[in-house]
Symmetry: C2
Subunit: 219 residues, 2 copies
Amino acid sequence: MHNTIIITAGGTGKRMGSELPKQFLELNQRPILMHTIQKFYDFDSSLQILVTLPSIWFNTWAELCKEHSFVLKHHVLEGGIERFDSIKEALKLASGITIGVHDGVRPLVSFTTIENVFKAAELSGAAIPVLPLIESIRHLSAKNSVAVDRNAFRNVQTPQCFEANLLKRAYEKPYQIRFTDDASVVEALGINITLVESNVENIKITYPIDLQIAELLLR
Amino acid sequence: MHNTIIITAGGTGKRMGSELPKQFLELNQRPILMHTIQKFYDFDSSLQILVTLPSIWFNTWAELCKEHSFVLKHHVLEGGIERFDSIKEALKLASGITIGVHDGVRPLVSFTTIENVFKAAELSGAAIPVLPLIESIRHLSAKNSVAVDRNAFRNVQTPQCFEANLLKRAYEKPYQIRFTDDASVVEALGINITLVESNVENIKITYPIDLQIAELLLR
């Protein structure tokens, strides 16, 4: 009885002001994506690991793996134009009973978070890791913005985990603009999503400073 | 023509797992609150600086100032039970034409952010610094949660700046539970709030790890 993790690495690096996509930037002398793959392998070496990557970066990744002697078993497949298409492709290869989908640029997810989300998904069909909001938020409208109660919201992270058949069924529906993550695709089937507490270190590496923060958190 | 900054330091330290309130925890060997006061002093030494603090911490703060030879001019006043009451008290002493309100645990606000928010408030009456949301968010309801479009939201930070008479008038109204920040108090008067881009380093020190992140950002 094995599970699958799909790791998405579709970033183009624009926000980091770097030519290399951010999943390839180095964290402690090793590309971020390797840390992320390693984390899931260390959590459960029987996991099927699928990595979605734009095909123009296949060669770069192969060279990086060689350079860093990175030999952990993982399957790289071509990311589509939309994240939705990438996941849809990955699901054709996914053989696990429970399937997680994780951002390639979140190397700091904890074993506890991974374990809790997979377990919750086994019980309920669909589970995601969340954290409370630290800062106030405002909702924008066409010509104004208004304060909303942050306690009524949660930050959503990954891995987002689902019973395999449920996730595959959800991805058979046509793409909708409101599909911003896997939970939003699955809930379009009318499924409730179980919320599980994430770890605060599980940051998404987005800005250049996040690389340094991640190095600090790795210590 | 001078301005006022009200720095709120009402934290009890519970979330940091520390006895000292977080505004007193040391960042590079100096209490966070001193960094914050210093930032505004360095930005504009003519600013009137008002600090709201629970009265049980007055002695500790006086001792810390002595110990760290911290002599920048600031006026400490007693924080009320609710943040709303603290600001209301501070406003009685505020003599500036434009008044900013800032979290004592955001020492990393940039001069650019401070300047832009004060300037925008001078033009429009009310301005706050915001950032886009990096992570997806979900809205919680009584028995479920649902994905919402993060692009329609902004993270709200400080300093929040207002034309003095407008802010004082807003704080004359009775407290409402939806008053989570100063912008929400002012917009209850039917005023539009101008949104200004904040700096990403302007974090609110909340978790123990944030202290280390702040030290990294200070370098």
